[in-house]
Symmetry: C2
Subunit: 138 residues, 2 copies
DNA sequence: ATAAATGATTGTATCATACAACTATATGAA
DNA sequence: TTCATATAGTTGTATGATACAATCATTTAT
């Protein structure tokens, strides 16, 4: 294994995280709104606990964030019929519209950012990123 | 341009940031210690303003972080002989040792993480990451 | 010579987060 | 069946990273 490749990856990952984690908003929505709506619209209505597991955040954090989303009307709370303690959050139409717009905005930005890359490079980068993320999970 | 490649990149970047920005420490040092020591050891002694520009953080934030580093003995403040307002921070031997150890720890972790990747994949991923970071800068 | 600009520090506010205490409900064991 | 324990969620509180504003000291420009 080439040590210098790992060093490069290490360094560039740190730089990337440093830059991107400064963005308070993603496509015009704040981070938690964007990530929660994305998750809920992708993987169906789930509750506070499942979201906390997914994001590796404390349930108290998710509880506040979902309360905020509900107050904005982006999600609706559906009581779990089989468990009186919990409920699921379903993205509302308004929420779907918001997250759709945000995604469009991000794609537009990325289109510019990657405009000098070849199709092959973009495709490969996406694959490798996905692979890294799957690797983390194990 | 393939829209689906951009969508994949967008999604996987969000996932990556979400995961990695949760790490409070990098190789046993807290984030700001690791990034500041790396920067200072790489690009020579510079002052608060230059660090703030580099990291796109407020000078007040950097000021506090460098004060903390100095208190820990990881950097030494060298007054700028040509400008009485500013000083440069030089990494001490102790600081060099600390950041060296931290880097070793990270490389060890990455060695495990990327163990199933081919040399070509690691090399390519590093290149593409670097390219993305350079693109951001413009 | 004085006004404006600049590097840095410190006070204060905000935000995201974790932990702890608590409530309500569900599950399992005697 | 009942009671102890576990679980889902909420709320109070503390912390850490950050930005902005005020300020100080020094430098630069008019």
């Amino acid at each position: 294994m080439e040590e210098k490749d790992l060093e490069l990856i290490d360094y560039e990952l740190v730089v990337l995280i440093r830059r991107t984690s400064l963005d308070k908003e993603l496509g015009g929505l704040d981070r938690s709104t964007y990530t929660l709506l994305t998750q809920l619209s992708k993987n169906g209505p789930i509750g506070v606990k499942a979201l906390a597991d997914e994001f590796r955040l404390d349930v108290s954090t998710i509880s506040r964030q979902t309360t905020a989303l509900e107050a904005k009307g982006y999600v609706q709370r559906l009581p779990d019929p089989t468990d009186g303690r919990s409920s699921y959050f379903q993205v509302t139409e308004e929420g779907m519209r918001k997250v759709g717009d945000a995604k469009k905005a991000r794609i537009a930005r990325h289109t510019k950012l990657f405009k000098d890359w070849s199709d092959e490079e973009r495709q490969r980068f996406g694959e490798l990123l996905a692979r890294l993320n799957r690797t983390f999970i194990e």
